[in-house]
Amino acid sequence: MRKIIVLAMMIISAFTHAAGRVGGGKLSNDDDLYQTKLPAAFSEYEMFDETVRLVGPMATLASGVSSPQFIEVYRFVNESPIKGTSRQVVEDFYTQNSWQKIGHTDLCIDVYVKKNLSAITYVAVWGNQAGVVMVGQNNKLTSLSINQMIQNIELLPGACSWK
């Protein structure tokens, strides 16, 4: 009986390494131990192996082409170009690559933002490869929505893992 329970836990765990889960108006992740509210304009979603795609209303890209607005959510551990684990290493990398550091009410969370003509990328980190990357088109609604999701991040117990 115990073996079956362990097997069940392993199977459950195998399917929860995705970028997150959506439910109850929230996005959460059991590996990075956080949750945040979904923005009202992005109520549709698609789940993929490594990303959660939130889909919003149509918008026009900088190039003049129209597409649905979307926010893609990735795990920091899968997207980060750095493997350093110290808070200073992370900060040095992003600030030296022209990312802007912004504040968060949870002092454990460091947030970095980078924009270009077409896209905006937010990185929120709270420890040893723990964090989230959110990216979308660089327009007002998407930017505001990503910023709200980042600012609404609540860490679950044990999430803050800076060394």
């Binding site: 329970i5 069940a8 129209s66 170009p81 690559n97 990312w99 990328t121």
Partner: protein, 204 residues
């Protein structure tokens, strides 16, 4: 014990179901009386006869949501093809019905993805939306569908999704172009999201 095994089986079958978990439907602004169908399934209304044929110029581009070395993202745009396609022009003032009028299809090879982008479908003509138009005959703006094919000969491997016209709708009769876009399921060959956009300019 048996219950646990059944539960386990159920969980596995749910988890194994194919992503995406939720089908996205992009709805037409007006006059959308039914879900858009793949072009080969359209059912033109026999009573609606085109009064003439106009030429439209299309341009299909691939947008790739690319990851940059510093961890940020950008869109990469690649124009895949341009060309002309015939488009039927209808007088749709007589009644309020919606007409699905098939137009020509075009194929557009995406060599990077080794896939073909197939563009075709139906213009949805909505006379209700043209009621304010003074001229006798106007083009109705509608929707096109785009699908991603295997290698140009294989059956469709990606479901066709619908898209919304974006350049002002039918009341803006001076806007002779509209943009179509599709965001298919994430492509394995891509770093990020790939979607295809097209522009159809009615040359009149």
């Amino acid at each position: 014990m048996k219950t646990l095994l059944v539960l386990l089986g159920l969980m596995m079958s749910v988890s194994a179901s194919a992503a995406p978990s939720k089908q996205i439907q992009f709805k037409m602004k007006n006059g959308d009386q039914s879900s858009p169908m793949p072009p080969e399934q359209t059912d033109p209304v026999e009573s609606a006869k085109p009064i003439r044929v106009a030429t439209a110029r299309y341009k299909i581009s691939r947008y790739e949501y690319a990851k940059l070395p510093d961890g940020s993202y950008d869109f990469k745009k690649t124009v895949l093809c341009t060309g002309d396609v015939n488009i039927n022009v209808f007088d749709v003032r007589n009644n309020g019905t919606v007409v699905n009028a098939p137009i020509e299809s075009v194929q557009c090879a995406d060599t990077i993805a080794q896939k073909a982008i197939w563009v075709g479908g139906a213009l949805t003509l909505t006379s209700e939306e043209l009621i304010d138009v003074k001229e006798d005959v106007k083009y109705a703006f509608g929707m096109l569908t785009v699908s991603v094919l295997g290698n140009g000969t294989d059956p469709v491997i990606q479901p066709i999704e619908s898209m919304e016209t974006s350049s002002g709708g039918t009341k803006d009769v001076n806007a002779k172009s509209f943009v179509l876009g599709i965001m298919p399921a994430r492509q394995a060959i891509s770093v990020g999201t790939v979607f295809y956009s097209g522009l159809l300019d009615i040359k009149d």
